[in-house]
């Protein structure tokens, strides 16, 4: 069971917290992506799992074995953790051929009962009873042949890395990582150096690889498309803090806060400022410069109840944080977290004053596919720009001084300046508290 | 493009602007004239020629530098406004010949005169090629008491001696020249290829007069034994190979062999002297220029009294050292020939001119008027404090001190094969 657990893991330099009190459980055979903007701490987290970086505090367990525990003083060195690591720029050894690069790790194996089975996979005796041995040359050759066949670089065995293209180098790196058969594969933005077409190809290769090896994959990326398409669960991180850890569609449909909603989804979600109060089931809001909208939360949630619960949660967390602050060795975080500054798309820039929000201020999040354009739409707008791709068309519509982005399926043609009518469809519209940026509920909106 | 061409042109022009001015008269003519003039007349010509200019000379002696201020003073007696910039170089490691050669053949002649030693090389490299020209001042030729033999052509400024010395602390004694080459001895000596007059001395040891002295000393030596006898006998083979003709050349050659095999090479006589005077150098020996004793400062570590000049001991048998000459000549392309002649005349005929060397022991000028008495140099307030410094004089050294005097012709005749013979011994040490 190659299950990875991180408990209260932190990494800081001085007062700067790169990773703050991270709790994460990665199930066996999961494909988890660590997603976030540059500098959010995802690579650091990955390296801490591998042992290339030492956490300041916390506990990391791989497959039930604690590999790091700050309380107990355990710190298993990276070479003993039996994980595979794929570097962003491949780190192929330039003085060795492809074959030598892949075989290098295999020649280090010196375990009880180490051998290569008929399928070309490396095996040990986990009980440790059998005598310790190294792999023979022909055994190594079989493994190398197997993994190079998987990534299709069999014909490049004698070449040096400098004689290969980027994609070929990347595949050599994958083969090298796979050869010893690790149960955990850590990947640090491995596709970021490839061109778009190759990237797509490699994405599907990685997916297949995940299935065939049965290993646990932990994958760092800043490309949300990649995360969405590959992962079994996405772990979104911002400023060292875990924002959400869910299946991709959950992250997409039920983001925890404004940041997550904005980060995931292409084209990006539309943020609309709204103010109003709840009467009965519906929330009467004023949006887009005076347009009236009625938001009906799914499941009949009361806003006030939500706020009460949220306040309670916040109070508990604050108490816990203060208790922690009193412990010895506490260092205050200098890179403070702040509420995500969402972007309101406007036609003309009229300054960006944001008065302090109250509890009757909200932000609506409307995904582009939920903007319905038709003659029976409720609000009038003007086509600002239209980008057809053949399969769909992305339209930007101007309502007053505001711009909304919509995606229309099918080959519909719009002319710039054309007047259209629109509504919000479905009940996946998101309501966020403007005060703290968290999501209150999904629901439907009637304009 | 244009800029590059312009730059190239400038470069070419600069290269061609090397000074090439030549005197109308040749230096040889000037010398011929100068040889008929008195010192006073020469000084006047010199003032005319070199007032405010720079005078360059190269020499084997470091003391030459201090002559020039006195020379300038002398000329200022005639013309108080006379000034002269000067540069006196002392090339080491035998570079003086290469430098003179280069200067004479250069388009730009700087060196006016030279003070140079090693008659052997001088003959073949400088006189036969005509690079150096000899000048005999009138007042020198007509001086009252002048030793002309071997000192006239080329003109010798002085004869210097390099003598055997040893540190007298401890209980070793050196009463015979062969004591210096006995088993276990390691006398200090300047490398033969950096100070070629040393090599000339070794050549001269095989000539008739000096090999006879070597034989005499050997017969009287208390360290004489069968091994050495056998070696001396064996040396006859080498004598034959090297084409030496003296009857007892094998004695001289044996001494040379032992000396070369055992001497410790130093870069200059200065360090040798500084070593021998120290307390820690008990029982050390050396062959070095006598006048170096002048510069020793008395401290707890170093004292002139730690040194004994071997030949000064009563009952010392054998050669006490060797003599070589400093010659002064003009370069054939001398840019300031009159000044050079005047300076040579000043140095060789007056005691002020010779003072830089005359003030110390160990340097003997042909013209007696130049010399000072150094027989009491070791006396302080009437007490004989530093015996080693009392110079017994040139005549004593030639006869009682048994100095080996360099003969360029003999050296030239044997150096062909003997040079390599010596080099081989030194290399194999």
């Amino acid at each position: 069971m190659a299950r990875i657990e991180l408990r209260d893991v932190s990494k800081r330099w001085g007062g700067y917290y790169a990773v703050e009190h991270l709790d994460l459980t990665i199930e066996d055979n999961a494909f988890v992506t660590l997603l976030g903007p540059s500098g959010c701490g995802k690579t650091t987290t990955l390296r801490m799992i591998a042992g290339l970086e030492t956490p300041t505090e916390g506990r990391i367990t791989i497959d039930g074995v604690p590999v790091f525990d700050s309380d107990q003083g355990i710190n298993v060195p990276p070479n003993k953790r039996r994980v595979g690591f794929l570097f962003q720029n491949y780190a192929l050894w330039p003085n060795m051929t492809v074959y030598q690069n892949i075989a290098f790790g295999l020649s280090n194996i010196n375990e009880s009962g180490a051998r290569v089975n008929e399928r070309g996979e490396v095996e040990f005796d986990p009980t440790g009873k059998e005598p310790v041995r190294k792999l023979k040359k022909d055994e190594i050759r079989r493994v190398v042949e197997r993994v190079s066949a998987i990534v299709k670089i069999g014909q490049f065995m004698d070449r040096y890395p400098s004689e290969l293209s980027g994609g070929q180098q990347q595949r050599v790196a994958i083969a090298r990582t796979l050869a010893p058969g690790p149960r955990v594969l850590l990947m640090d933005e491995p596709l970021s150096n490839l061109d778009a077409k190759l990237r797509l190809e490699m994405r599907s290769e990685l997916q297949r690889l995940h299935l065939s090896t049965g290993s646990t994959f932990v994958y760092v990326t800043h490309d949300q498309m990649e995360a969405m398409t590959l992962a079994t669960r996405i772990c979104l991180i911002d400023n060292g803090v875990l924002q959400q850890y869910d299946e991709p569609l959950t992250v997409y449909n039920k983001p925890n806060n404004l940041f997550v909603a904005d980060f995931v989804g292409n084209p990006a979600v539309n943020f609309i400022e709204a103010s109003g109060t709840q009467t009965g089931d519906t929330l009467d809001l004023s949006i887009l410069g005076g347009i009236k909208a009625a938001f009906t939360p799914r499941g009949g949630l009361k806003i006030a109840d939500w706020y009460a619960k949220d306040d309670q949660n916040q109070a508990e967390m604050r108490a816990a944080a203060e208790a922690k602050a009193k412990l010895p060795g506490y260092v205050e975080k200098t890179n403070k977290d702040s509420v995500f500054r969402y972007n309101i798309a406007k036609v003309e820039d009229d300054g960006d004053e944001r008065p302090t929000p109250t509890r009757s201020d909200f932000v609506l999040g409307v995904r582009p596919e939920f903007i319905y354009i038709g003659d029976d739409g409720a609000v009038e707008g003007e086509v600002f720009s239209a980008m057809p791709t053949g399969m769909e068309t992305t339209v930007r519509i101007r309502v007053g001084n505001f711009l909304l982005t919509a995606v229309v399926f099918g080959g519909v043609v719009y002319k710039i300046g054309q007047k259209v009518r629109l509504s919000f469809s479905g009940d996946n519209i998101m309501l966020f508290s403007r005060e703290n940026g968290r999501m209150i509920s999904n629901g439907s909106v009637k304009l | 493009m244009k800029k590059l061409l312009a730059l190239a042109l400038v470069f070419v022009l600069t290269m061609s602007l090397l000074p090439i001015a030549m005197a109308d008269e040749s230096v040889a003519d000037i010398i011929a004239q100068a040889q008929t003039m008195t010192n006073e007349e020469l000084y006047k010509k010199a003032i005319e020629e070199s007032k405010g200019k720079t005078f360059n000379a190269v020499g084997n002696s470091s003391r030459g530098k201090s002559v020039l201020p006195l020379f300038i003073e002398e000329l200022q007696k005639i013309d108080p406004s006379y000034t002269l910039e000067f540069s006196w170089q002392q090339p080491k490691n035998n570079n003086i010949f290469a430098q003179l050669d280069a200067d004479v053949n250069s388009a730009n002649h700087e060196i006016s005169m030279t003070l140079i030693q090693d008659g052997n090389q001088i003959q073949s490299k400088m006189l036969d090629t005509g690079y150096l020209l000899n000048f005999v001042p009138k007042e020198w030729a007509e001086a009252e008491d002048v030793a002309k033999e071997n000192n006239e052509n080329p003109l010798a400024l002085q004869t210097l001696n390099k003598v055997f010395m040893f540190n007298n602390l401890g209980d070793k004694t050196y009463t015979n020249m062969w004591d210096f080459v006995a088993d276990g001895e390691a006398p200090l000596f300047m490398g033969v290829n950096s100070e070629p007059v040393g090599k000339n001395f070794l050549y001269m040891m095989t000539s008739e007069k000096y090999s006879n002295w070597a034989k005499e000393a050997y017969e009287a030596w208390d360290g004489k034994n069968e091994e050495y006898d056998a070696l001396i006998e064996d040396m006859k083979l080498d004598v034959k190979d090297l084409g030496l003709t003296a009857e007892n050349a094998n004695y001289g050659l044996t001494w040379v062999l032992l000396w070369c095999d055992q001497y410790n090479q130093e870069t200059d006589d200065g360090p040798i002297c500084n070593t021998l005077v120290t307390k820690s150098a008990a029982g050390q020996t050396g062959l070095l220029v006598y006048s170096k004793l002048r510069s020793i400062e008395e401290t707890a570590e170093s004292s002139v009294n730690n040194i004994t000049v071997a030949a000064y001991q009563d009952g010392y048998t054998g050669i006490g050292g060797y003599a070589y000459k400093h010659y002064v000549m003009l370069t054939k392309t001398s840019p300031l020939p009159w000044t050079a002649c005047a300076l040579i005349a000043f140095m060789t005929t007056t005691s002020e001119g010779f003072y830089a060397w005359g003030k110390d022991m160990g340097g003997y000028a042909p013209v007696a008027a130049c010399m000072q008495d150094h027989s009491q140099d070791g006396y302080v307030d009437g007490v004989n404090t530093y015996d080693a410094k009392n110079d017994r004089g040139y005549d004593w050294w030639l006869n009682d001190g048994q100095l080996v005097v360099e003969d360029p012709a003999y050296c030239a005749s044997v150096s062909g094969k003997m040079s390599a013979w010596i080099d081989g011994i030194v290399a194999g040490k």
């Binding site: 720029n89 280090n108 | 002392q90 430098q99 280069a102 053949n105 080498d238 011994i425 194999g428």
Partner: protein, 627 residues
């Protein structure tokens, strides 16, 4: 209406046009000019020396009676084959100890010195790479203590003139009992007599050379370590590679180019060094050359030819190793997030070790120099046992006249010695001019070659500029001595500047080439499209971008010139520049003067390096290839 019929241009015209188009690009024109000039300055001296080996020299063995049969006349000049035949086949009778032997001329004058030269070069390479490389690793990849202090002290021996370490060695270890002569510091103060092999010969020469060039190795190898992608080693670690295996199979191969560069440069520099074997009693090609100039001048020139052949050999080896499949650069974008290797308690132990070794090689010499200038007699340390009063003096600094006997051999004290200050001025002139000319030409070479990467002519120019650098200094000095005598510019600044320029151009061309290669061609193309002329592009775009490496290219010749002896010693008389004057004082045993001058020189170099570093960010280590 007249119709002009255009005639097809003739083949000759076409060729002319081609040449004109080729030359109108500034880099091609400059390349052509440089190629011609550098060929002349490199080939002409070599030809002259070759000629010298077959010429007759009066007063030497090839003019003696028994050599007459080998002479012949060409164009009225006397030539002879004697020098070649005698050096390789001649046999002399001599003695080894008391034993009569037949010694071949070649053994004494050629093979033994050749072997010694090669040996010291090899040992110097090995020593400097080990010492400097290990230090580089410790400083860049581990948590050694006192890094800043150690890395600045470490390069001291490189800043000092080469042979001063040899003099220090003598003054420390020579003793009456073993080497004859006076007791050095060890013998007089500690009563320890170091054995013969420690004091003279292969061992001390190799050690001194290794100490002198270790900083060079440190800068080159450290530069690679600093920029190395740490991921490469981490990848090996993750694969459970033992530390030694990672070092041997991953780290070391990456550092190989730096090691090779160091070997090539140290080898030829060590081979050409004259003063160090001269003072420490070893017969090498260079010391033999000087000694043979008395009566074996022609054969000495053959030694010079052999030294030059080594230069060619090294160039060829350099060519072979810098091309080829296994070649790779290791500069990557993302530099290491590497953690430093934890040495544990070793970080204190090792830093102490290095503090001690750099104390000996960097600080002690300076202290000794300072003390020497106050000793009453050279090497007289009586003040240590007898107290300062009466045993230390300021005469070496303050004596203002030289007519009476002041115990300093007729010299003036350092502060009043116009010879010394004039020589300093001379050195400054030579160093500044060398730096300007070599730096400019080198930068141009780097620029032109980087623009014509694939052209054979560019490769040739690069090589011919590099060759004198790889040739032993003495050989280049000999070459220019011969040329200088022929042209009549002996003992002029012009000759020194020429020799220095030719020898040091590669400092600038390498630095410039490396940085130009990393500059994208598009930067200049953007300017070309806008019709900006060549010189403006250079001055306003290229040079400001490359400022740091260009200045390093000027700085390095300047610093090296300041302390260069072997290259210049044959080319001028002793008072023209300060290093020949220093050597003169050392020969004469006037250690106070040479030590005082050495101190002043070191201070000047340090000040210059710091100033330029503060003002422009360039420095000695960046120039050699650190950054």
């Amino acid at each position: 209406m007249s119709v002009t019929v255009l005639r097809k241009p003739s083949a000759f015209r076409k060729k002319l046009n081609k040449i004109w188009t080729y030359l109108s690009k500034p880099q091609n024109f400059i390349l052509l000019m440089l190629g011609i000039i550098l060929t002349v300055t490199t080939v002409y001296p070599m030809v002259t020396i070759l000629k010298d080996t077959v010429s007759v020299h009066p007063g030497t063995v090839d003019a003696a009676e028994d050599a007459k049969s080998a002479q012949f006349e060409v164009l009225g000049d006397d030539y002879t084959t004697f020098n070649w035949t005698d050096l390789f086949t001649g046999v002399n009778i001599t003695r080894h100890g008391r034993q009569r032997i037949e010694l071949s001329v070649a053994k004494t004058y050629l093979w033994t010195p050749l072997l010694n030269s090669v040996l010291i070069s090899i040992f110097a390479c090995v020593g400097s790479i080990l010492y400097g490389g290990i230090f580089a690793y410790l400083v860049t990849r581990t948590n050694l203590k006192l890094k800043k202090y150690l890395s600045s002290i470490f390069i001291f021996p490189y800043i000092m003139p080469q042979w001063t370490l040899a003099i220090i060695w003598r003054n420390l270890f020579f003793s009456n009992a073993v080497t004859g002569g006076s007791d050095g510091l060890f013998a007089s103060v500690l009563g320890v007599n170091m054995p013969q092999w420690w004091c003279e010969g292969l061992f001390p020469v190799s050690v001194v050379l290794a100490l002198h060039y270790a900083p060079f190795a440190y800068i080159l190898i450290g530069g690679i370590f600093r920029n190395m992608d740490a991921n490469l080693e981490e990848a090996a670690t993750i694969l459970n590679t033992p530390r030694w295996k990672t070092f041997l199979r991953v780290t070391l191969p990456l550092v190989k180019p730096a090691i090779l560069s160091t070997i090539l440069l140290v080898f030829s520099s060590a081979m050409g060094s004259y003063p160090i074997p001269h003072y420490l009693g070893l017969s090498t090609l260079s010391t033999q050359y000087v000694g043979m100039r008395i009566d074996r001048v022609g054969e000495a020139s053959i030694l010079a030819v052999i030294m030059m052949l080594f230069g060619f050999l090294i160039l060829i080896v350099n060519q072979k190793t810098t091309s080829g499949r296994k070649n790779f650069t290791t500069v990557t974008g993302k530099s290491g997030q590497s953690s430093l290797v934890n040495l544990g308690v070793g970080k204190y132990i090792l830093s102490t070790v290095f503090v001690l070794t750099t104390l000996f090689s960097g600080i002690l010499p300076i202290i000794l120099f300072a003390i020497e200038t106050f000793l009453p007699n050279p090497g007289d340390y009586s003040f240590l046992t007898n107290g300062i009063a009466g045993h230390l003096t300021t005469k070496w600094w303050l004596t203002a006249e030289n007519v009476s006997e002041n115990g300093i051999y007729g010299q003036f004290g350092i502060l009043y010695n116009s010879d010394i200050w004039r020589a300093f001025g001379g050195t400054m002139i030579v160093a500044v001019c060398c730096a300007l000319v070599a730096g400019t030409i080198g930068t141009l070479v780097g620029y032109c070659v980087s623009k014509n990467r694939r052209s054979k002519w560019a490769g040739y120019v690069n090589n011919v500029a590099f060759l004198p650098y790889l040739m032993p200094s003495l050989a280049v000095g000999i070459a220019f001595f011969v040329v200088g005598s022929n042209l009549g510019i002996f003992n002029t600044f012009l000759l020194l500047i020429l020799a220095g320029t030719v020898k040091y151009i590669p400092f600038a061309s390498r630095s410039s080439l490396n940085s130009m290669m990393q500059l994208s061609g598009e930067i200049e193309e953007a300017a070309i499209i806008q019709d900006i002329p060549w010189w403006r592009r250079m001055v306003q775009i290229i040079i400001p971008i490359q400022k740091s490496s260009i200045i390093s290219g000027y700085l390095l010749p300047f610093m090296t010139c300041l302390r260069e002896l072997t290259l210049f010693m044959l080319l001028c008389r002793q008072d023209l520049i300060i290093t020949t004057l220093m050597d003169y004082f050392d020969e004469m045993g006037l250690y106070a003067f040479s030590s005082g001058i050495n101190l002043i020189l070191i201070v000047v170099i340090l000040v210059c390096n710091t100033l330029v570093n503060k003002l422009t960010g360039a420095s000695l280590d960046a120039g050699i290839g650190g950054k």
